[in-house]
């Protein structure tokens, strides 16, 4: 260890230096306070300083005081040498931050005691710093593990817990979202399509957060699939009833769930369009909302079974519900109804029912978005304490028949024609006496058609003039269908980069805006090489 000896008295300095060297210390000397300070500021400076109280320049107390104000540098153990043995003097040294003192003249054993004490303290301090460093590292690793767990949980949720709503069903349209809370929990949903007119929707919620919750959710889901295939096999291809599926799963999992001290709420619903009937098994889940536009009313569908994992003796029973064209079923997790601002009541099922009664005529994905926005507005928070899961099943409306009005125009592929196309679309809408759209929807449709046409002119035809676009409009009682037909390069929206909303790039907004503005957009290619962008906008009920 390196020790600084600072004394203007050459004899004392020399004596201390020699003794310390004999004891094995590396010694640096200084003959005044300024030099001592300089040495202490160097790299690899001494860890211990023996400073004479009175020196030319800075005195020992001042050097000590300055050292103590440098909190970011390693600690230096300071022993003051003094000729005056007064309590006032000692107090001054202590206030300046000195660790010990030695009264001149002194003999080697006294010096040794002081230096040994310093050495012990410095050693203890360095051990302490080492452990603090170790704890900090361990803490950082723990934090990293926590972040990884959340990421893994999110991945499990995306891949194992959430099924993809089936598209292209006959007789119904389905939308589903989950807005995960900061902590992953075990909300899950899935869809089993049996045939064109029959499919099952499963929405569940596991008690318990983190990866365990997510894994249990995934396990329940896989049990459902196994139950379904096993029962179909047992019954020689007959589709089992929802209550049989749930009782089969219950037999398998309830004991395990009880052992794990957890449970899962679940709603298993089958939609049969041939019979216009829904069959539900409610395992203690939130009540399903059935909106019936014909009566402009909502009904709560609730069974009286307990969640899976409660009681082994439970027998699950299904309930039946008839539905009409245009009806809507809304499934949700308690994250929706139990959403709560910092001060105030929960969102509640009544508020949700009323929202659905008012907005139920919308497309399922729009309705879900409205519910989500309403919850955000209600809680004044974009993050949720609990997962927010919604699944909406919309039964197709009665067929609306042939289009009321068909119109079309042929325009040259020039950007200057965008105005012509917009005027055409506006005229098509204005011919509808029932006024399908209000000003806002009208403008959204103009944006969508304009962006589609602009993409065709700029990308499909790559700015070439002399080509043409056919724009056709079919106005139905409840929607408008616009087709833009062209013979340029087919447009692939999946290669368009997502827009950057922070203003760092100008492009990519067109495709995004189309999707925001209309209910459906399809990029179709006919065998003759012609391509069509088909846009559908449905009547919006505000």
């Amino acid at each position: 260890m390196k020790v600084l000896v600072a004394d203007d008295d050459a004899i004392t300095r020399r004596m201390v230096e020699v003794i310390l060297r004999k004891w094995g210390y590396e010694v640096v000397v200084a003959d005044d306070g300024d030099r001592a300070w300089q040495v202490l500021q160097e790299e690899d400076s001494p860890q211990m300083a023996i400073l004479d109280w009175q020196m030319p320049g800075m005195d020992g107390v001042e050097v000590c005081r300055r050292l103590r104000s440098q909190t970011e540098r390693p600690y230096v153990y300071v022993v003051l040498l003094t000729a005056r043995d007064t309590s006032q003097g000692l107090a001054e040294g202590a206030n300046a931050g000195a660790d010990d003192y030695l009264i001149k003249p002194f003999d080697p054993p006294r010096l040794k005691m002081r230096v040994n004490a310093g050495l012990r303290i410095l050693n203890l301090q360095s051990q302490l710093l080492d452990s603090v460093e170790k704890y900090k590292k361990a803490d950082a690793q723990l934090e990293l593990a926590r972040v990884r767990e959340v990421e893994t949980g999110a991945k499990i949720q995306q891949t194992l817990l959430l099924g993809l709503p089936p598209a292209g069903l006959q007789g119904a349209r389905i939308a589903a979202i989950t807005s995960p809370s900061e902590m992953i929990d075990g909300d899950f949903y899935d869809f089993f399509v049996h045939n064109e007119s029959c499919f099952d929707v499963i929405v569940g919620d596991v008690m318990g957060k983190g990866i365990p919750g997510a894994l249990i959710g995934a396990a329940v889901k896989s049990h459902l699939q196994r139950a379904l295939s096993q029962l179909i096999y047992n019954d020689r291809g007959q589709l089992p009833e929802p209550e049989d599926i749930i009782n089969f799963v219950h037999k398998d999992v309830t004991k395990e769930l009880i052992n794990l001290e957890t449970f899962a709420t679940l709603c298993y619903a089958r939609f049969d369009h041939a019979k216009m009937k829904a069959t539900l098994v409610d395992c203690g889940h939130t009540a399903t909302i059935h909106w019936q536009p014909a009566r402009n009313a909502t009904e709560l569908l609730k069974g009286d079974n307990v969640p899976l994992g409660f009681i082994e003796a439970e027998r699950y029973k299904q309930i039946e519900q008839r539905f009409e064209p245009g009806d809507l079923f809304f499934f949700y997790s308690d994250g929706v109804t139990e959403a709560q601002p910092v001060y105030g009541d929960m969102f509640g099922v009544d508020r949700l029912r009323e929202l659905i009664r008012r907005s139920g005529r919308n497309e399922p994905h729009k309705l879900i978005e409205r519910v989500r926005s309403a919850v955000i507005a209600f809680t004044h928070s974009e993050t949720f304490a609990d997962d927010l899961t919604c699944v909406a099943v919309k039964v197709d409306e009665a067929p609306v028949g042939a289009p009321i009005i068909h119109s079309e125009i042929l325009v040259p592929s020039e950007l200057g024609q965008l105005q012509t196309i917009r005027t055409f679309v506006s005229k098509c809408i204005e011919r509808d006496e029932g006024a399908l759209f209000d000003d806002e929807d009208h403008y959204q449709l103009l944006i969508a058609v304009n962006e589609a046409a602009s993409n065709i002119i700029r990308h499909a035809y790559q700015g070439q003039t002399g080509e043409s676009i056919t724009v056709s409009s079919d106005l139905f009682a409840d929607r408008i269908v616009i087709r833009l037909l062209h013979s340029g390069t087919p447009f692939d929206p999946s290669v368009v980069r997502a827009p950057s909303f922070d203003g760092t790039r100008d492009g990519g907004f067109g495709v995004y805006m189309i999707e925001q503005c209309v209910d459906e957009v399809q990029y179709l290619r006919a065998p003759d090489g012609k391509s069509t962008i088909r846009i559908v906008k449905r009547e919006t009920i505000r």
């Binding site: 965008l418 944006i447 909303f501 100008d506 805006m513 925001q516």
Partner: protein
């Protein structure tokens, strides 16, 4: 595309005399704006006459905003018709632009 400039203190109010700002005129708009952005530090774009703005138009305004910001200036918008404002909202651009309802509000926003 005609644009007129009116100096109000430190702020130059630029009036866009056009019915629409779409892909057919967005390049022209950028060309017309370029010298204005060099001459004037604080620009308040009065969009009162516009009835339609598409993604190319939004892109053009965004590029003006960036140009203005890069030289230490600022660009704000005012007087947007309801549908035009909807375009900004659909593309979520209202979050990165200062949009004021009237010219007076716009001028005041600069003095803050």
């Amino acid at each position: 595309m005609e644009m007129t400039v009116e100096q109000k203190g430190d702020v130059s109010v630029v009036n866009v005399h056009a019915d629409h700002l779409d892909a057919s005129v967005s390049e022209e708009f950028k060309r017309e704006m370029a010298p204005l952005l060099e001459e004037h530090r604080y620009i308040l774009l009065d969009m009162g006459q516009l009835r339609f703005v598409d993604s190319a138009g939004l892109g053009a305004i965004l590029s003006c905003l960036r140009k203005s910001g890069s030289t230490g200036g600022d660009l704000k918008l005012c007087n947007l018709a309801k549908p035009v404002r909807a375009s900004f909202e659909i593309a979520r651009m209202h979050r990165i632009m200062d949009i004021l309802s009237t010219e007076e509000d716009g001028l005041q926003a600069f003095s803050r």
